[in-house]
């Protein structure tokens, strides 16, 4: 824990970036047209959003054992979340879900 203004500023920056990506990702899940683009939006929340917030918290905690734990969580999130997104999108594509395109005659759903 540190109340040094520089540390606080870095923490706020990281957490704000994370919150921004969560917001964008949530809007994406609600607004994007098909499965693939929504998966794309959802994985942004977990990787950049959660990752950035965790790094910010680690900076705020300072040089302690707890910040190492937080960074470990961030590392595991960065490994697993894209893998989950990859597995979902791959399974959908291989089982024949057609990606959305703007013009309906190219095989999209509209």
């Amino acid at each position: 824990m540190s109340n040094h203004p520089v540390v606080l500023a870095i923490t706020v920056l990281f957490v704000c970036v994370g919150a921004f990506f969560f917001l964008v990702g949530t809007i994406g899940i609600l607004r994007l047209p098909d499965f693939y683009s929504r998966t794309h939006a959802a994985t942004k929340c977990d990787t950049v959003g959660a990752g950035s917030i965790l790094v910010g918290l680690a900076v705020y905690t300072g040089l302690e054992f707890d910040s190492l734990k937080i960074l470990a969580i961030a590392a595991f999130v960065l490994l697993t979340s894209p893998t989950a997104g990859h597995a979902l999108a791959r399974a959908a594509f291989r089982t024949g879900l057609v990606p959305w395109t703007r013009s309906p005659d190219k095989g999209g759903v509209g």
Binding site: F76, L79, T80, T83, H86, A87, R90, A91, R94, T95
Partner: protein
């Protein structure tokens, strides 16, 4: 007519419920009975009375140990119900073919294999340390169960089930219930009442082992049940 009747019944049923809610002590008020008596007692006396530094475990395994014992029995009964429904032999043409259409992604396989040791270490840590840190049998067991499911997805259920052969699995599923019974009866023989833990005296050293045994039972049982339900739903168990 029917809709009006439903609406009238709903309103009729909600009036006593809302009245009861209005009689509850205000949320967050300082002089709620929970805040004036129960919580201070747990927080102040808990670690000494139960031997758990983690107050959640103190409440779950000690103050309301009977309740948790009932809870694991409910979970085990739920597994039996799931088996009862899912393991009814289905006509051959209705049996879903295993979804081998999509070959396993090398990326997913690599990540699951790389992370598996970390996941095992983390869940064992949670189970063993449940009495002093956040976590415990339920959480640790679910993590192992989830790992078994992930392994089934990338390696195939048959290879994963070889880690936990049918004969072993059948005995691990009721592990939580059995462990509660063993610790409960041991407590009864030593201290007079079912599921009682030593508070003082020569058997005090048994307190943490008792708690750890129950945690291990909950963890092993939980993992076996989570994985078994997945395999039963997939149709590869039975």
């Amino acid at each position: 007519m029917r809709r009006a009747l439903t609406l009238a019944l709903l309103i009729l049923a909600s009036v006593p419920l809302l009245y009861a809610v209005s009689l509850l002590p205000p949320v967050g008020s300082e002089d709620n009975p929970t805040y004036t008596y129960v919580v201070p007692h747990y927080l102040e006396e808990g670690p000494e009375e139960t031997g758990c530094e983690n107050i959640v475990t103190a409440v779950i395994l000690n103050y309301r140990g009977f309740d948790t014992g009932g809870e694991v029995t409910v979970i085990f009964t739920a597994l039996m119900a799931v088996f009862g429904v899912l393991l009814i032999p289905r006509p051959a043409e209705k049996v879903r073919q295993p979804e081998s259409a999509v070959p396993v992604s090398p990326v997913t396989l690599f990540i699951v294999r790389t992370l598996a040791p970390f996941i095992v270490v983390f869940s064992v840590y949670q189970i063993i340390n449940g009495h002093s840190t956040p976590g415990g049998g339920f959480q640790g067991g679910t993590i192992i169960g989830a790992l078994l499911i992930a392994a089934s997805l990338v390696m195939g259920s048959e290879r994963t089930q070889r880690l936990l052969p049918e004969g072993v699995r059948r005995w691990l599923q009721p592990a939580a219930v059995l462990m509660f019974a063993v610790v409960g009866v041991t407590g009864m023989l030593l201290f007079g009442e079912y599921l009682s833990y030593p508070i003082e005296g020569e058997y005090l050293f048994l307190r943490v082992p008792f708690l750890t045994l129950v945690e291990i039972g909950i963890g092993v049982g939980g993992a076996a049940i989570v994985a078994s339900i997945f395999w039963a739903m997939e149709g590869s168990d039975g």
